[in-house]
């Protein structure tokens, strides 16, 4: 049972079940812990990663379904310093506990690639991640500010 995963540009050959959840393989096998576990059923988005550039909830993604695809985690996103989204998160002092923010930033980054200037409604429709600390007002502000720079 060997699965080949390409994570943040690095190929990993892993001895795991085909149906193992991508989230736990990223965390426990590959050792990248920036991607978080929140609900296990694709409700909260704490586990969001990019698969071929699109935001995907890794807790319900089997590794078999993404073998050979380009997977990017928060570590990969941050590989060359802060992205404009991350900088906006600092400028607007978005995180509180911070636990949801890896997933939030991954989800927002994917959205802004296709729609760099979303309306509040488009943002809310696309970003359904949960933040129990309630940082949504600042997320909205940060994304508005990013849109204004476009």
């Amino acid at each position: 049972m060997t699965v080949k995963l390409k994570i943040n540009g690095t190929e990993h050959v892993l001895d795991v079940e085909d149906d193992a959840p991508l989230l736990w393989v990223i965390r426990d096998e590959v050792g990248l812990t920036g991607t978080k576990f929140g609900c296990g059923i694709a409700q909260c988005g704490a586990c969001t990663v990019h698969v071929d550039g699109n935001a995907q909830r890794s807790c319900v993604t089997t590794v078999g379904s993404v073998a050979g695809k380009e997977i990017m985690t928060i570590e990969g996103l941050s590989a060359n310093g802060l992205t404009p989204v991350q900088q906006a998160w600092i400028d607007h002092q978005v995180p509180q506990c911070g636990y949801c923010q890896s997933g939030m930033i991954m989800a927002v980054s994917a959205l802004l690639k296709t729609n760099p200037k979303p309306t509040d409604e488009q943002l809310a429709e696309s970003i359904t991640n949960i933040c129990r600390c309630g940082t949504y007002p600042r997320i909205r502000e940060a994304v508005r500010a990013l849109g204004e720079k476009v």
Partner: protein, 741 residues
């Protein structure tokens, strides 16, 4: 209250004051222990919580844990302010969970001195520490607790400021002695002591060795507010950069060599025990190392978490329900109503003629209730534990009290404190769930590790386990009565409410009503309860502020004017209401289907008034459009951070008001994850405006006070639009229709 706090700062008058100040400063022999525990090469502790390095850098050691409330910035701001430190030369660290960094005595002194309580009267956010008797092992001294919105109010006001000021005084003495001048000729600025007359200066780093030899004074001079350069400024939070690139290591992220993972299933019925479990099939599954039977649960240990989870789900454990297997929410509600109708009510307070005064006016009467709520922090409960060959225990977890957690682990493992090492990690949310007294996940992890000696085991609750084995915000019912006089103002106020504990001081109203009776009906259940963001204020705020609104409408008066008329003796409360109303445009016209509601509540020393604007659509769909908040916490140490806490409290409270409901069926929790315990997301987020009021009042808490007035402000707004009075939360259980106007 205010007097006591000022007295303490002025020099330890009174016993509580002496305790606080006395604790705030260690004698110098304790510094060596601190140095050994937490100083790096080149650093030296000058007193509690302050280290100075040879390059003049000041490190503030924070005796609290980070759960996202910004105290790793606010507390150092307070110490650095008094120390005249340059913020760019200030570093921040977490205190190790050791008794010498405990904030328990500080918190205790703070609580006792401000609430006029005795040592037996433990406030709600700490109640679990007492209920769970680890106090007898570790002692109340062993608290390093972060809760009760107390970090800035207790550690900040009584600890950090004193520590900063005393350190400054010691550094000045050391410099003056070197120069052979009077300390009064010296000043301090940007991590240096200056002697203007001779133009000499010395950095703090060059002075720390000498300075540490002076004994700290208990009442060092404190800066007047108008000289502040750091406190009151929105300094960017120090913890944020690591929270945008995934490098903050939470409890969930602990990695130890050879570590295994554990998944758990706890008896669904509270109080239930594991009778038996057939572990054979699970043991043959890939990666499974062991099936561990605990008293109330079964745990599978495997090489990977998902394998442990799959195996634990494949088990078919048999539980003994301890006689609780038939309890339902409806049955608990019936018990509440029976208790409130019975004659077993216990007096809490009576003023004037109490309930007898109800005969003196027009009766208004209503029964309110709120459901059980789960905390549901983003990071599910987890804990990593290792039983070592030398008979010691090492534990890693994020809790709201590192020292309390260490004491708890010592108790459940039967080891002495010195044999337990506890690593306190940042938390993906706390909200009260991770306070001492509610450490079921620590106990299960320690016991699992006990069965796997020599191997670190990380136990992780799935969301289902987290939601079904919480310590819930209690389900509470309140029966309110008011009597309105000829002018429509209340002449009597009677509140009978259920409690699973004692009386709640949060039930005492701020409004001037001459005759009051507040009584409690004790309704114990088998459902474990605990502090949930704003604790008792979370229900009393809803009951009181909704019922005051009912009285105003019964009197045909404007709800804002009605409240103002009863706040003659409370100018700060009145000012908060007026500011929120002004900023929200109270009284100005709104489109059809929209309306405003107002509510105000003081908790944790902070007054918060919310005006909520809602829209009810033709089909009854409810939108919360806007929340305007006015907040008087005396002064905000970090205004932007403070606002973030109010915003977060609004969202947390909105989730509960709209959808939050834990129900019980067959003795167990029905809900299990976010689809049936829905929470607010971006799409439901209203526009939020927070206005801070500066006053001379003592500093109030930040994390919790935004919660209580939100639900009643929403319910009051719904009434304004629909004429329907919401007396039971959550809102999702009500069908709204637009009033025919």
């Amino acid at each position: 209250m205010a007097t006591t706090r000022r007295m303490i700062l002025l020099g330890g008058l009174g016993t509580a004051g002496a305790l606080v100040v006395g604790y705030a400063l260690w004698p110098s022999h304790r510094l060596e222990k601190a140095d050994a525990l937490a100083a790096k090469p080149g650093e030296k502790f000058i007193n509690n919580w302050l280290k100075i390095a040879s390059d003049d850098t000041v490190t503030v050691v924070v005796p609290h844990c980070d759960m996202g409330t910004g105290i790793y910035t606010a507390l150092p701001q307070m110490a650095a302010e008094e120390l005249d430190a340059d913020w760019s030369k200030v570093k921040v660290e977490a205190a190790p969970p050791d008794t010498i960094f405990a904030n328990g005595p500080l918190g205790e002194g703070f609580i006792l001195s401000t609430q006029g309580m005795t040592a037996n009267d433990i406030p709600a956010f700490l109640r679990g520490t007492v209920a769970n008797t680890f106090r007898s092992v570790a002692g109340y001294m062993d608290l390093q607790v972060t809760g009760g919105s107390s970090a800035v109010r207790a550690t900040g006001v009584y600890g950090m400021r004193i520590a900063g000021a005393a350190a400054r005084e010691m550094l000045v003495k050391a410099a003056a002695a070197r120069w052979n001048v009077s300390p009064s000729e010296c000043t301090t600025k940007a991590n240096k002591v200056l002697h203007a007359a001779s133009g000499r200066s010395l950095g703090y780093g060059a002075l720390v060795e000498d300075a540490a030899g002076y004994s700290p004074s208990a009442n060092p001079p404190l800066k007047p507010k108008d000289k502040y350069t750091l406190v009151g400024k929105s300094i960017p939070r120090v913890d944020i950069p690591k929270k945008v690139n995934g490098t903050t290591n939470y409890g969930l992220d602990v990695v130890q060599p050879g570590m295994l993972y554990a998944a758990i299933r706890i008896s669904p019925v509270f109080g239930g025990k594991l009778k038996s479990v057939d572990s054979k099939t699970a043991e043959t599954m890939r990666g499974v190392k062991k099936v561990v039977s605990l008293d109330d649960s079964v745990v599978v240990v495997a090489d990977r978490f998902w394998r442990a989870y799959n195996a634990v789900e494949a088990l078919d454990p048999v539980w003994d329900n301890a006689g609780n297997g038939k309890v339902t929410s409806a049955e608990i509600a019936a018990r509440h109503n029976a208790a409130l109708k019975g004659d077993d009510l216990k007096k809490d307070i009576t003023t004037g003629n109490g309930a007898d005064a109800l005969a003196g006016g027009r009766l208004v009467e209503a029964t309110y209730s709120v459901p059980y709520l789960s905390h549901a922090p983003m990071e599910p409960m987890n804990c990593t534990a290792l039983w070592k060959a030398d008979g010691t225990l090492e534990v890693w977890s994020g809790t709201q009290d590192g020292l309390g957690a260490r004491a708890f682990c010592a108790k459940v493992s039967g080891l002495s404190m010195d044999k337990v090492t506890y690593h306190l990690l940042p938390m993906g949310g706390g909200f009260g769930r991770r306070l001492p007294g509610y450490f079921n996940f620590l106990e299960q992890a320690v016991r699992t590790a006990q069965a796997m000696p020599g191997t670190p085991v990380k136990l992780i609750y799935t969301r289902d386990q987290d939601m079904q084995h919480d310590y819930y915000r209690p389900n509470v019912t309140s029966h309110l009565k008011g009597a309105l006089g000829a002018d429509g103002m209340p002449v009597a106020w009677v509140n009978d409410y259920t409690t699973d504990d004692g009386a709640n001081s949060e039930a005492h109203i701020v409004y001037g009503i001459g005759n009051q009776a507040v009584r409690t009906a004790k309704v114990p259940t088998h459902v474990p309860t605990g502090p949930w963001r704003s604790v008792e204020a979370s229900w009393h705020g809803f009951f009181i502020e909704s019922f005051v609104d009912e009285m105003a409408h019964a009197a045909k008066k404007d709800p804002l004017d009605y409240r103002r008329a009863m706040l003659g003796a409370k100018p700060r409360h009145k000012a908060a209401l007026e500011l929120a109303a002004l900023k929200a445009g109270w009284g100005t016209p709104l489109p059809a289907g929209s309306g405003r509601g107002i509510a105000m509540f003081e908790s944790f020393g902070t007054i918060v008034a919310h005006v909520v604007q809602v829209t009810v659509g033709q089909g009854g769909a409810l939108t919360i459009d806007r929340v305007v908040s006015a907040v008087d916490a005396g002064m905000a140490v970090n205004p932007d951070g403070f606002k973030a806490q109010i915003e977060g409290a609004i969202i947390y409270s909105l989730s509960a008001a709209k959808n939050g409901e834990i129900t019980i069926d067959k003795g167990a929790v029905v809900q299990s994850n976010f689809p049936d315990y829905e929470v607010v997301r971006l799409a439901d987020t209203p526009q939020i405006e927070v206005h801070l009021i500066s006053s001379d009042a003592p500093l109030g808490g930040a994390g919790e006070p935004g919660v209580p007035p939100l639900a009643p402000a929403i319910a009051n707004a719904i009434y304004a639009v629909t004429g329907t009075r919401i007396r039971e939360l959550p809102l999702k259980n009500h069908t709204l229709t637009l009033a025919a106007r």
